[in-house]
Symmetry: C2
Subunit: 494 residues, 2 copies
């Protein structure tokens, strides 16, 4: 058998174990009984280690290098390129170091939970320090050209560098801080999504809005979990979760659409790429661009609420007395906020920048873990003009660092920037406001499917963005989008 | 490391994959979206084959034989005995034959579904013939002392033989057919469980009755599926499913208690046996004894309905006008029936005998597959006094043969016989009627836990039964139980 075919078969074989692992995760967050937790952790550990050992075996390396000689088509070449990249990165880190990483991050999660409970960063700091040391060693092993942090960014957003980010951030920060100041001087819209909303009705509404945007329930389902997520069990089985707040309808609604955006991407990955390293989203940032596109650009638009108001009324009669304009304005309330996950389109990226500055300094030995709260508060004051009262609503709010996920946050920001740039490109082909106002999302989805979803992980994110939009990353699209939208929402001029 | 410890570690490692496989099955029957089916079958295939190859590797054999020399405690000796038995049986059948078995039974299931739809056994016969040929070859490879069918019985009920069954069946058949005739001459009780029963309320009632008998919802859950089943994902995670019929409350109620009986057994397996070959039920028949015990002996007793009537009324007010006696009688309606799964305590074993006679003849080349429907109808007429109108309600009603599960049916019968014998032993220690009437099932469950559940698969079923009841299998217990119960239900004397 040719090595290329053997390689594909091997990946598909391994992907069966990955599917099982994903299901174990999904079930743990949605259905597993309490007492299954101890064993579940062990089971997940065994399967993760097995999958990793299969993906990074010497035999796998041999197959990849053999297959490289055979690959002729663009797709096959991409497959080998992605496979080789993943393989070589993984092999540069010795298994013992991964073992240490797994052990110390597992501990860190428990310590973080306790420290967060007590709102005391100093309880978390010693364990986080261990994690940061391991992450730095991983970065050194993986290698980089200019900045140690680049090695970590590359995990989540291949090709993204500190140089790229440092080129964007100051300008963007200044712009957003300025927008925030202007908005603050205007009157804050009333939030019509606050009230009392039956959970069963919210559940039905979540299903409905997913159906509306084109999510295929024959190839997925929605469940409830503490934190919303999207997960691909296999082709034809892409699931989302959400959570419900009886007093705030916005929460379940927008997080459902957000996860729906991720899920539409996954449901659009071609079946023949599945199980292969190319059968995935192009990057974390591109993935996030899809969720943000549907959540913010579609579902927070005035056109959307013109269409969706009567649908909403089917579930909650209270909205009969509310205009589509009120719904739209309520979806776009901007506030200086302490918590990233509750922030809006203007402040979200500012939250990311704070984390980015801290991570970059930590990884480059320019800052100590114990200094994080101080730095956090300083940056928060500088960018957002407010200071957390305690560590719980400050440096302890995110779980990511306890997972050792350094380099992850910037991909959220990239998602926002990509989404706006993709939006401008889409508007050249699709009469966006008209189709959204009609609730006809088919044209939008088809466009995204063809340009982005169908490509899987064949192209690097930078290349994909250029192919889709005709230019490389340009932050003007996002700034223009923010300017236009919020000048209308708040009736001001920028 | 000593081989015994290495063997245990290896089994526990493999059991993580088995847990994943069980979860894949559970999810397929309860939650999986339609379009996930094609990939799910493949994923399950890959994991099954992997687990089998791990369990039967030469390395595993070496470990078992090494560990055999080290095993000192009774538990360790049992572990090695069971491991060796499973291993040697599996190794006697070459992988290619298992491959053929998997392939032809997968086909047979599809053909069976179609034949059943069309109620035409002749459509199923050619494919079933292939399956029977493979099963005969497997039996030959596995080996037996006296009867080829013994090799198959041994898969489900270790130690059970044709000789054992032929000793029991004629007497039991004559007895049951006689009881059936006597009952038929009496007046049939009115079925108070027929009506209109809200499904949400049925769901709540199912949860309630499981709680009542001692099922631990922190270590399990109940879901809906087309066919009720119990599944062990891991220690601390034992799940049941049921199905609901809006017009017949009996269905969900008794099938829930039945699965609850299986689940109580599994929840009682000690944690330190988990993942090892001894960390399981003793046999299919012993497992079935536990489900039948709770379903029939407990939940179909007069004492139970004295206790449970007020609970039932909390869910369905209609039962306020019904006596506990009516509930009890309605739980015990006996009828000449064509369908095994809908049959009662008197006719159930007669259904099994029909299948047993046919299987034994087929496997011993005393009958052709194409003659099954004729034989089926003949035996049905002889034992039950009625004849199916078509194959769908005759020889095509069960899925088991399409799975290649020959030798399985008798374990259902053994479950009934064991349950009655265990019941008599239990009554020597526990004041059964009194505790059931009080709804205090703790004493019963503790007794079963100590005598049966805590033993896992350490003892052979014959030995376990003797330890628990003080004698070997004695069909008089079951006949005495039937005689006593149905003489009261139908107010007749036998």
């Amino acid at each position: 058998m040719p090595a290329l075919q053997e390689l594909k078969d091997k990946y598909k074989w391994i992907s069966s174990f990955s599917s099982a692992l994903e299901l174990l995760h999904w079930d743990m967050e949605t259905h597993m009984p309490k007492k299954g937790g101890k064993w579940r952790a062990e089971i997940i550990g065994v399967l993760s280690e097995f999958i990793q050992s299969q993906q990074t075996s010497g035999e796998m390396g041999k197959l990849i290098y053999e297959a490289e000689k055979e690959a002729k088509s663009d797709i096959d070449k991409a497959l080998v390129r992605v496979a080789k990249r993943d393989y070589e990165r993984a092999r540069r880190v010795p298994p013992e170091l991964w073992g240490k990483f797994a052990l110390e991050t597992a501990k860190a999660q428990r310590v973080w939970e306790e420290a967060r409970e007590k709102s005391d960063f100093s309880l978390f700091a010693p364990q986080l320090e261990k994690v940061v040391d391991i992450v730095k060693e991983i970065a050194e092993r993986v290698g980089y050209e200019k900045n140690r942090y680049d090695a970590l960014l590359d995990y989540f957003e291949p090709g993204l560098t500190v140089e790229d980010l440092d080129n964007i951030i100051p300008k963007l920060q200044e712009f957003l801080t300025g927008v925030l100041e202007r908005i603050e001087r205007s009157e804050k819209p009333k939030d019509v999504f606050i009230g009392e909303f039956d959970l069963e009705k919210q559940r039905e509404l979540s299903r409905r809005v997913l159906e509306v945007i084109g999510y295929d329930f024959d190839a997925g389902r929605i469940d409830r979990s503490a934190h919303p997520f999207t997960i691909t069990i296999s082709h034809g089985d892409i699931r989302v979760t959400t959570r419900y707040d009886v007093h705030d309808l916005k929460y379940s609604f927008f997080s459902t659409v957000h996860e729906g955006g991720h899920a539409l991407y996954e449901q659009g990955i071609p079946e023949d790429m599945r199980g292969l390293p190319i059968g995935d989203g192009a990057s974390m940032g591109i993935h996030e661009s899809q969720s943000r596109f549907w959540e913010n650009i579609v579902a927070r638009s005035h056109s959307f609420w013109k269409f969706f108001k009567p649908v909403l009324e089917e579930y909650f009669e209270v909205f009969k007395g509310v205009s589509s304009e009120d719904l739209w304005r309520s979806s776009n309330i901007v506030e200086r906020s302490l918590i990233r996950t509750e922030s809006d389109e203007v402040t979200y990226n500012l939250h990311i920048m704070i984390r980015y500055e801290i991570e970059k300094s930590l990884i480059n030995d320019e800052m100590k873990v114990s200094d994080i709260p101080q730095m956090w508060n300083k940056l928060m004051e500088k960018y957002m003009g407010i200071t957390p009262l305690n560590d719980k609503e400050g440096a302890l709010q995110d779980i990511h660092w306890s997972h050792g996920s350094f380099g992850y946050f910037p991909s959220y920001m990239m998602g926002n920037l990509y989404a706006a740039q993709i939006y401008d490109a889409l508007k050249r082909d699709v009469d966006f406001s008209s189709v959204v106002e009609l609730g006809d999302f088919e044209e939008i989805l088809s466009w995204l499917r063809e340009k982005i979803h169908a490509k899987g992980r064949v192209l690097e994110p930078k290349q994909l963005l250029e192919n889709v939009t005709g230019e490389s990353l340009n932050v003007e699209h996002f700034m223009g989008y923010i300017r236009e939208k919020f000048s209308k929402v708040y009736e001001i001029e920028f």
